[in-house]
């Protein structure tokens, strides 16, 4: 029981991070119908920005942890959003109106480019981060096994919850969110109503990238290491989460993220840590074969 609870906590933490990244995939897919394979790299950039920012803040001597954390979060969101915007502007917008395959290939190219860019500018070695947020509580103890919930885990879950609630409100209530939903349903009609569709798409990339940046910061703190390749695996897993939840569906991405996190944690806890990635990708295959529209997605209806 205690062991189960521990895996649950680990899974929810991991799932929160996947959920944050998955939102970027699902939003972009919903509006322009493409999988942004460079999104994992955007998250990696977010992690690198956070490492740089932490180091710089250390040098200046900003010592209170909450303050440093807040500054780093904002910096990472800002810079990563800029990257997200630029990726769309450079690699996808010129290809709008061409075949569906073109932006997909361009996305893979962008993903490889960003990996190499980070490798060259930051080096190929692992970048360590000293643990910054320490401490935790013992939630529960039985049979000599203590269930730990660290402050960082709590922070990750709470922050994710707040961001997702905020994000859902923006989509449901704000002007931009309404325009995004209109574009998602009929992008041509949205343009005919005078909505600047390109700007809505840019905003979508910026929002997705900002959320991925938060995930990047959290992962940096959680695992304590960053390298140029972390975006690939996290990206594919978050993509799996988006597919599991139903790609194009916002609550689906959140749910899918949590589920993938839980599956990975329980698999690692009860079967084998070495094969934890296998569990996630098996899910991807099963979902694509048996329920391509995902848990909360609607089956695709061909637009006339």
């Amino acid at each position: 029981m205690a062991y189960f609870l521990q895996q649950l906590i680990n899974g929810l933490t991991l799932g929160s991070i996947y959920g944050l990244i998955a939102i970027g995939y699902t939003m972009v897919y919903g509006i322009i119908g493409m999988i942004n394979f460079a999104h994992g790299e955007i998250y990696m950039i977010g992690a690198f920005v956070s490492v740089t920012a932490f180091v710089l803040l250390g040098l200046i001597g900003v010592s209170p942890v909450p303050l440093a954390l807040a500054i780093v979060l904002l910096t990472a969101m800002l810079f990563t959003a800029l990257y997200g915007w630029a990726v769309e502007r450079i690699a996808y917008r010129p290809l709008r109106g061409s075949s569906r395959l073109a932006p997909l290939i361009s996305a893979i190219g962008m993903s490889i480019f960003l990996q190499n860019y980070a490798q060259i500018t930051q080096g190929a070695r692992l970048k360590p981060m000293p643990p910054l947020v320490e401490g935790g509580f013992t939630v529960f103890e039985s049979g000599g096994f203590a269930v730990r919930l660290s402050v960082l885990q709590l922070l990750i879950m709470v922050l994710t919850l707040v961001l997702m609630a905020g994000f859902t409100t923006v989509i449901a209530r704000s002007r931009l969110g309404r325009a995004q939903r209109a574009c998602e349903q009929d992008i041509v009609m949205a343009s005919l109503l005078g909505i600047d569709v390109d700007r809505v798409i840019s905003a979508t990339f910026v929002m997705g990238a900002a959320l991925a940046a938060v995930a990047g910061v959290m992962v940096t703190l959680y695992y304590g290491v960053v390298d140029f390749f972390i975006g690939f695996l996290a990206g594919v897993k978050a993509f799996t989460a988006a597919v599991l939840g139903g790609i194009g569906s916002l609550p689906g991405a959140m749910l899918g993220g949590l589920l993938i996190g839980l599956i990975e944690a329980f698999w690692s806890g009860y079967f084998s840590v070495e094969y934890k990635d296998l569990s996630v990708f098996a899910i991807l295959i099963l979902v694509l074969v048996f329920r391509p529209s995902g848990l909360l997605g609607r089956p695709e209806v061909e637009k006339v």
Partner: protein, 288 residues
Amino acid sequence: MSGERVPLLKIEHLTMRFDGLVAVDDLSFTAYRREITAIIGPNGAGKTTVFNCLTGFYKPSAGRLAMLAGDETLLLERMEGFRIASDAGMARTFQNVRLFAGMTVLENLIVAQHNALMAASLFSIAGLLGLPRYRAAERAAIERARHWLDRLGLIARADWVAGALPYGDQRRLEIARALCTGPRLLCLDEPAAGLNPRESAELNTLLLGIRDDEGIGILLIEHDMSVVMGISDQIVVLDHGRKIADGTAAEIRADPKVIKAYLGEEEEAPLPAETEAHIGFSRTGNTC
């Protein structure tokens, strides 16, 4: 028609070719403010193609589409897609209704006022902070939506999901949405299609009301002659992409060329024009 006619849209030598096929051939006419201009013609005459050129779906092969806004002349064929709606003031409805089916009726109408609200909300920033200026703008948007819902008899269904509305209501909602963009010219593609006689009589009253109260121009594609003849100030007749007549309802009714295009010549085999046109243009002329 009272007073001087104010030109609103000048179409000059519009030609649209698809490879070898000429869907619209050297079409010129002018639509006026406070007037209803109907475009009629047999199936595949190129009517919807004209709309598609006007709203930026197609880049015309040749010709000039000029929207006259006060002293300004806006060339539609050179504008970016969304500016045709936001700057030139063109709004359009479709043969096969295109609503945001997953949004509520009210949301459909508020999305149409996106630009006005976006400016007021400082691009969402003020909106998220809930600043009063934005609140006022949003109230105005809702008020405007309510005005049109009231006018079109949809107010009781404001919170319905648009896709769940009966067909006739969906058609009217589409018109309401187009009007919420605050257009100069309203382009309606077969608004009476699928309406029963009572509903199409109501549509007549509505369109005349919009023309008189809003002072905007209406461009209308319609097959229902009770609508066309009943309310049009000007009728343009197309056949095989060419304009064969242009005038008032009385003039059009008496025009031998129009009768020929619709009924075929008596000496020839029955219905040659229509069937030919239908086969020739069915892929491009009437789809959107």
